[in-house]
């Protein structure tokens, strides 16, 4: 059953599709005169440092929050979960800009309260900002892993005399290294490809070089540099696939009921994160809104954002299913899955142009909603694949075996057993894609149908022109709609009782 899975052909086509923009980049880069520049080294160091610090920061914030949301019984538990995952909804350049405007000498905080604050700047500032906007990747993947772990090992450790914290450290975390790695991978790739944050906070990174080239019409140089960046991406993809989690029988997961004081303290310690990543940008925009007025925002932009994101989420998940299935079927499948990740590490603006070239090949569909959704699928496939794969990996293999023995073919077993039991991962993948599409900019600007304005494009428009007050309402709507999508996802988890974990005591 392990040799050649029927999902392979479809997965191959889809992986190839996800790879097409990268191939376009190679064609574009062929014009480029120079392959490597010594000056690139300093910038490369900055880029790698930013990537490492961002991934590290995201893990430092995301893992404790994952523990909190997975294991601790909080009042209005799901609400906190949605709130803590919400930073994914905000474009990181918005976060960077508002933090930059708020802190530091002459910043809004100083103007309003008179307190001088240190400024967010350079490597430190960029790492903090990027960590703040990518930690939800880690939090969500780790949380899913934690929920599939059997609590009895922690109980065993505690009865042997270990405190709760050290048993979490020694007994729980080592078993979910692959969940941590998967989240850190996404955070790292995001840090590699993001331009807005390092530009605003004045950190010289590889992407900045790419953007400079791009904006001065050196497209082939920009493409060449993007491909060089992909080498780093390939490396971290390789490293991440090395991290293996434990394969174990699922059991009832851990639940903790700390007292009121403890719970309040824990929630309080989350506050800085939420405050900096969500409340601050909204507050800053609010101040400017009050100062400047609302401009010509239309509600249809929110509608456009929402349904484009919804189509994209559904389409991406559908395309992701064969690839995820292939990834757990064998080595070749895993390779295809890794390859489909490459596009995610390409800086957005370059990817946008590559997608334009790809889109032009289907000239009838160019600048239609269908093609835009397809572009989103190509860009964000890894988000869905990773989520689905890590859920179906954890399924008890004897379930599929039992179905086969009862007469179901591989396809039927997948459809009736693997699929329904992977709903959690599917929904999580769809939610991630939804959030990312909500804030996507470069591809949307060029490939969307005419007069199709989204929240992200409008936000960019007013930001570029300097009318920051006008960014408040779309910014708020971005957070609200994305928060709703997250809420649906998390509440849907309970509705579908497919937990292989026993939640109620058994009757006899």
């Amino acid at each position: 059953m392990k040799r050649w899975s029927p999902s392979y052909p479809l997965a191959f086509i889809i992986a190839l599709m996800a790879l097409m923009p990268v191939l376009v980049l190679m064609v574009l880069a062929a014009d480029s005169p120079q392959l490597f520049d010594a000056r690139n080294l300093q910038i490369l160091t900055n880029t790698l440092a930013l990537m490492v610090f961002t991934a590290g920061g995201a893990v430092l914030i995301g893992v404790p929050l994952a523990l909190l949301t997975a294991y601790v019984r909080l009042p209005w538990g799901k609400f906190w979960l949605v709130l803590l995952a919400a930073p994914l909804a905000i474009p990181s350049y918005i976060g960077a800009f508002t933090l930059y405007a708020a802190f530091g000498p002459g910043g809004e905080i100083e103007q309003l309260t008179g307190l001088t604050t240190p400024s967010f700047d350079g490597l430190f500032g960029s790492s903090v900002v990027m960590a703040l906007y990518t930690y939800p990747f880690v939090m969500l993947t780790v949380r899913a892993s934690l929920l599939s772990l059997d609590a009895s090992l922690v109980y065993a450790a505690r009865t042997l005399g270990m405190s709760l914290l050290s048993s979490l450290w020694t007994v729980v975390l080592p078993r979910i290294t692959n969940g941590i790695a998967a989240g850190a991978l996404l955070a790292a790739m995001y840090a590699l490809s993001d331009f807005g944050t390092p530009a605003i906070l004045r950190l010289d990174t590889f992407t900045r070089m790419i953007y400079v080239e791009y904006n001065s019409f050196g497209l082939s140089q920009a493409a060449m540099l993007s491909l060089q960046l992909l080498v780093i991406v390939g490396l971290i993809l390789f490293l991440e696939s090395r991290v293996k989690g434990t394969h174990e029988r699922p059991g009832k997961s851990l639940t903790l009921w700390p007292g009121k004081l403890r719970t309040s303290m824990m929630l309080l310690s989350c506050m800085p994160v939420i405050a900096l990543s969500i409340l601050l940008p909204l507050a800053v925009f609010g101040i400017w809104l009050w100062r400047e007025g609302a401009g010509n925002f239309e509600l249809v932009y929110a509608w456009n954002s929402a349904y484009a994101a919804l189509f994209a989420a559904i389409a991406t998940v559908l395309f992701a299913l064969p690839v995820a299935q292939a990834a757990i079927s064998g080595k070749f499948g895993r390779l295809m899955e890794r390859v489909s990740y490459l596009g995610f590490g390409v800086p957005g603006i370059v990817m946008g142009t590559a997608l334009v070239y790809v889109g032009l090949q289907l000239s009838m569909l160019y600048q239609t909603l269908a093609l835009l959704v397809l572009a989103y699928v190509m860009r964000f496939l890894p988000l869905a694949v990773g989520s689905i794969r890590s859920t179906s990996e954890r399924l008890d293999p004897s379930l599929v075996k039992a179905a086969r023995l009862l007469g179901a073919s591989q396809k039927e077993a997948f459809r009736r057993i693997t699929l329904p039991l992977s709903i959690r991962g599917i929904v999580a993948g769809a939610a991630l894609v939804f959030l990312e599409v909500m804030r996507e900019l470069p591809a949307t600007l060029i490939l969307s149908p005419l007069d199709f304005e989204t929240l992200a494009t409008y936000l960019w428009r007013v930001y570029e022109a300097g009318y920051f007050g006008q960014a408040a309402i779309p910014g708020l709507l971005l957070v609200v709609i994305s928060g709703l999508a997250l809420a649906v996802m998390f509440f849907g988890e309970r509705w579908n009782q497919t937990d292989v974990i026993e939640e109620e005591p058994s009757l006899s």
Partner: protein, 345 residues
């Protein structure tokens, strides 16, 4: 490959466009700006690619044009100028033409498209409305922007600032600049053209030691206002707009005289499809009403005769900006390489 044809056409343009002033003066007597009343009504469908649309202001112009022409269906695609340029070039390569018009905020983008031979020739009497130095066969500059030195009014006064850009490194003021910004790169290109590569290199090196980098020139002006730096290098309208929103802001404009430091650049529009409709649309942008609106509200410099420049800006004659063929400013590659070499970029 793009570059080679670009340089070829650059040479051609240089031969045809940068005529000595007296000859171009002879060619056409610049008339006063046309009024919208005199223009034919626009009917039909137009697709406009608008690069970085200066917020609501260009929008307001467009809205006004639409209101005046109810039979015109105008569809707009907005995006970063470079993205749109690349899209237009890619579309042309694939034989797909979507855009009728391309309105870009800097002339570099316009240059790329005209170099690829994609722009339609504009009627002579259309381009004839513009001031001499702003007349080109296949594109129309819309509004101008001038390089300035915004300074913090709490610390400095205008007379303390040298009026020779090359003397700036000798002062001990802290400087803010945005090397990644297209207009700044055009400014450096201008300096290269006027002073030569060697001198430009020295200037950049010296300035780099005392300059603080910002992502955009709005950031530069905001930093000057905050007091983070003493002076900055930016397009004029950022300061004027900031002051319009905050009249008591601690920033004001200083100018150099007749060098790259007071270079005048322009946003430009070109037609990608032939026909009267695109050209007629462009006429609207050169009318008295639109030009004065942009001067008053966007604080940009009108390029047609008979329209007052924005408040807070001295007359161009007193500043005496250098005479450079705008299309030459599109030759960015050597500028970028130079800036990179010095470590500015």
């Amino acid at each position: 490959m793009q570059r080679r044809t670009f340089i070829q056409s650059l040479a051609a343009l240089a031969a045809a466009g940068a005529l000595p002033l007296n000859i171009s003066q002879v060619l056409a007597d610049p008339a006063d700006a046309v009024s919208v009343e005199e223009l034919p009504k626009l009917e039909g469908e137009l697709t406009l690619y608008l690069g970085r649309g200066e917020g609501g202001l260009y929008e307001n112009v467009i809205k006004a044009i639409e209101e005046r022409n109810p039979d015109l269906k105008l569809r707009i695609r907005r995006g970063p100028t470079a993205s749109l340029t690349n899209a237009i070039l890619a579309e042309a390569k694939a034989g797909v033409r979507r855009a009728d018009l391309f309105w870009a905020v800097d002339s570099g983008a316009v240059g790329m498209v005209t170099a690829a031979g994609l722009a339609q020739t504009l009627p002579a009497e259309l381009t004839g409305q513009l001031r001499d130095e702003f007349r080109f066969p296949d594109w129309a500059p819309v509004t101008g922007r001038i390089r300035t030195i915004p300074f913090n009014t709490e610390r400095l006064t205008a007379d303390k600032i040298p009026n020779d850009i090359m003397a700036l490194p000798d002062t001990d003021y802290s400087v803010g600049w945005a090397p990644a910004y297209a207009a700044f790169q055009s400014f450096v290109t201008g300096m290269r053209i006027l002073e030569g590569d060697k001198v430009t290199r020295e200037w950049l090196k010296a300035m780099n030691r005392k300059a603080k980098k910002f992502a955009g020139e709005l950031g530069v002006v905001m930093a000057v206002e905050r007091g983070e730096v003493d002076i900055g290098l930016a397009n004029h309208y950022y300061t004027l707009r900031l002051k319009a929103g905050k009249p008591d802001a601690n920033v004001d404009l200083a100018f150099t005289n007749n060098d790259a430091g007071c270079l005048v650049n322009a946003s430009g529009i070109l037609a990608l499809k032939e026909g009267e409709l695109p050209a007629n649309f462009i006429r609207y942008l050169l009318t008295k009403e639109v030009q004065s609106y942009l001067a008053e509200e966007a604080c940009e410099i009108p390029l047609v005769n008979g329209v007052m420049p924005p408040e807070g800006l001295p007359r161009l004659k007193t500043i005496n900006p250098p005479q450079i063929d705008l299309t030459r400013l599109a030759d960015l590659r050597p500028t970028i390489d130079l800036m990179r070499d010095v470590g500015v970029l």
